[in-house]
């Protein structure tokens, strides 16, 4: 039982990271109806920018300045990328089908992946932001030997929770959030009441960039920043299917479910059929889910004929 709980909690906590990536997808999808395949690449870019800037500053300045400087640099990069994307891709694809936009973001993913590796290098970089890495053992009284937790995962969960809170407040309580929700609801109507569409896109892509930075820093603390982080993006797709494309809570719950389900399946079913099922389990769950419940757990129910 202790082992089961340990696997479950480990899965839930790694699910938090999927949720963070999925959040980036959701905010962009909510505001512009674009499924941004490049979200994983933005995680890579943000991570690389942060790590390299921090390492550069760390040579001359004390630790906390290097962390702050690295974060500032990465934020600046993400905003610039958001601006470039808005300027050179999105505004030129207005009124195209969502499929064209999706394919354009696939192209974008390739561009961001490769250019960021050219600019910042393509090795594995360790992230050091002062989060303790020791494992924590809890519930020793309840189970024999207790339950082993990774403290990085715990921090990730706390930061993710804060991010979600901030995002919910931002979307529900601020004027900008209201404008973004209006754009998500109806582009033309929003424009007719005077909301500048390109500006909202810039905001939303910057927000997605910041979420990517958070995901990159947390994921990087666990496994280092490297190219394979891009495949995170693809793991976020089943999360979206499960949670619904337009729901922030859905992204969180979906991420947790996928993270836990995948680890449990790997440990308890995978050992029976050859292992490695972590690789596709999430997708097949999403596939089955799509058949039964196409709009996801928290998605808006669209009434249309297919």
């Amino acid at each position: 039982m202790g082992f089961f709980i340990e696997v479950l909690i480990g899965g839930l906590l790694s699910g938090v990271l999927y949720s963070l990536v999925a959040l980036g997808f959701v905010v962009i999808f909510k505001a512009s109806g674009v499924l941004n395949f490049a979200q994983g690449s933005m995680v890579l870019l943000a991570g690389l920018a942060f790590v390299r800037a921090q390492a550069f500053l760390g040579e001359t300045f004390p630790f906390w300045i290097s962390v702050a400087g690295g974060l500032a640099f990465a934020v600046a990069i993400m905003v610039i990328v958001a601006w470039l994307v808005e300027k050179f891709v999105l505004t030129r694809l207005i009124n195209q089908s969502s499929l064209s936009l999706f394919m354009a973001t696939i192209g974008l993913a390739f561009v961001i992946d490769e250019l960021s590796q050219i600019a910042f290098g393509s090795e594995v970089y360790a992230v050091k932001i002062g989060i303790p890495r020791e494992p924590i053992i809890v519930l020793t009284g309840l189970f024999d030997g207790g339950v082993l937790l990774n403290s990085v995962d715990l921090w990730a969960a706390i930061i993710a929770a804060c991010l979600v809170l901030i995002l919910v407040v931002f979307f529900q309580k601020t004027g900008t959030g209201l404008a973004l929700r209006a754009v998500a609801d109806d582009h033309a109507a929003a424009q007719s009441v005077g909301i500048p569409i390109p500006w909202t896109w810039l905001i939303i892509w910057s927000v997605a960039g910041l979420i990517a930075l958070a995901a990159a820093v947390l994921w990087g603390t666990k496994v280092g920043i490297q190219y394979s982080i891009v495949f995170l993006a693809m793991k976020a797709l089943p999360v979206l299917i499960l949670g619904g494309f337009t729901s922030i809570p859905g992204a969180i719950v979906g991420g947790l479910l996928i993270g836990a389900g995948e680890k449990l399946a790997e440990v308890f079913i995978g050992s029976m059929i050859g292992g490695g099922i972590e690789y596709w389990f999430a997708y097949v769950v999403a596939l089955i889910f799509l058949m039964i419940w196409p709009q996801g757990l928290f998605g808006e129910r669209l009434i249309e004929r297919i």
């Binding site: 064209s100 192209g107 390739f110 992946d113 590796q117 494309f245 292992g275 596709w280 799509l290």
Partner: protein, 362 residues
């Protein structure tokens, strides 16, 4: 002037509906095919040494033809029927492994039949993974095809039955034999692949002009309207999945048997899926000709890109060049989607139109 149909009168419906109604078109296609079948091999046999011609066959011509076939297959689904797929690599893998298993387990089966079996297996899998398209569409469908990609990657890597118990997961296909003749030389392989590709592209071109193709396009353009005029979406979508996966499966079997010879599951990874998707975006969605143009473009581009920095005297490391190459692909995709969503095929049409009225502007 050169390209003008003046004086060519169509006196029957048959002529009017012909695949290539203009005489110049017909002759240029005949000339192209003749050149590909006879001219090119003769040119290579006498014009170059054995090493160069072998290189051209095995590194350029054969991969070009097979990938063109795969992109025609994908174009049927994405370009004609409007259902996006990111699982081309998986369907190629199914074709390859099904053909391999038939060829290895039933050695008396002729190679052509084994390759076709690969296509049929891929068509079956295509229908299975196309079933969700009846309930969902667009971006959601992309995820189900991605599921196919990851699932089959795993299946062929981990379940040793498919690789005939090979420990490393890499398998070697038996030699392809056509009517008792073993295909060993580059010329032989090239001609075999060429024959398959020509047959498939003619057949599929015809299919897209017929009732089925029009149903696909109607579904693509507006599914509700299509349904109202009496097209069954279930039938149209599933046939598109089946035909597309069949073609891709045959391409996968050819890729494995004729081009690679021995391969491992990585040969059909998600990179291959994106590669082929890029080919049809650049070439032109909804165009058989575009599939060829796009394949040629995507295959030639890396060769050019690796030469350009050296030619300009800019010293770049190989890793930078390979990163740059992929980045240029990405930029091109975005560029084509913005500037010419119908791709190179559309540019070709425009050029033809210009030639028709040349030297007058309109």
């Amino acid at each position: 002037m050169i390209y003008h149909e003046a004086g060519q009168f169509k006196t029957s419906y048959k002529q009017d509906m012909a695949m290539l109604p203009i005489v110049q078109d017909r002759w240029s296609v005949v000339a192209l095919v003749t050149f590909a079948v006879a001219g090119l091999p003769i040119l290579l046999a006498f014009g170059t040494d054995a090493f160069t011609s072998n290189y051209l066959y095995s590194a350029i011509l054969i991969p070009f033809l097979i990938l063109s076939l795969a992109s025609i297959g994908l174009n049927i689904l994405v370009g004609y029927c409007g259902q996006i797929s990111l699982g081309t690599g998986a369907f190629m893998a199914i074709g390859a492994y099904a053909a391999y298993n038939v060829a290895v387990r039933l050695p008396q089966v002729p190679s052509i039949l084994a390759i076709l079996c690969g296509g049929i297996a891929a068509a079956g899998a295509g229908i299975a993974f196309g079933l969700p398209s009846l309930r969902i569409k667009g971006l959601y469908l992309a995820v189900t095809t991605l599921a196919a990609q990851f699932f089959f990657d795993w299946l062929f890597l981990r379940v040793s039955w498919f690789t005939n118990g090979s420990a490393s997961g890499s398998v070697t296909a038996p030699a392809v034999e056509i009517l008792g003749i073993k295909l060993e030389s580059g010329t032989g392989k090239y001609l075999f692949v060429l024959a398959v590709v020509v047959l498939f592209s003619l057949g599929l071109k015809n299919l897209t002009r017929g009732a089925l193709g029009r149903q696909w396009m109607a579904i693509r353009d507006m599914d509700i309207a299509a349904e109202i005029i009496g097209i069954r979406p279930v039938y149209a979508k599933l046939t598109a999945f089946a035909v597309s996966s069949f073609t891709i499966g045959v391409a996968g079997a050819l890729w494995a048997f004729v081009h690679l010879g021995s391969w491992e599951p990585l040969a059909f990874s998600i990179d291959r899926s994106f590669n082929i998707l890029f080919m049809i975006i650049v070439g032109g969605l909804g165009s058989i000709l575009g599939s060829f143009l796009g394949t040629a473009f995507i295959m030639i581009l890396p060769i050019v890109l690796t030469r350009v920095p050296a030619a300009l005297g800019v010293p770049l490391s190989t890793s930078t060049i390979s990163h740059l190459e992929v980045a240029v692909f990405g930029i091109l995709i975005i560029f084509f989607l913005i500037a010419e969503p119908l791709g190179l095929a559309r540019l070709w049409l425009l050029a033809k139109e210009k030639l028709r009225i040349w030297p007058f502007p309109y």
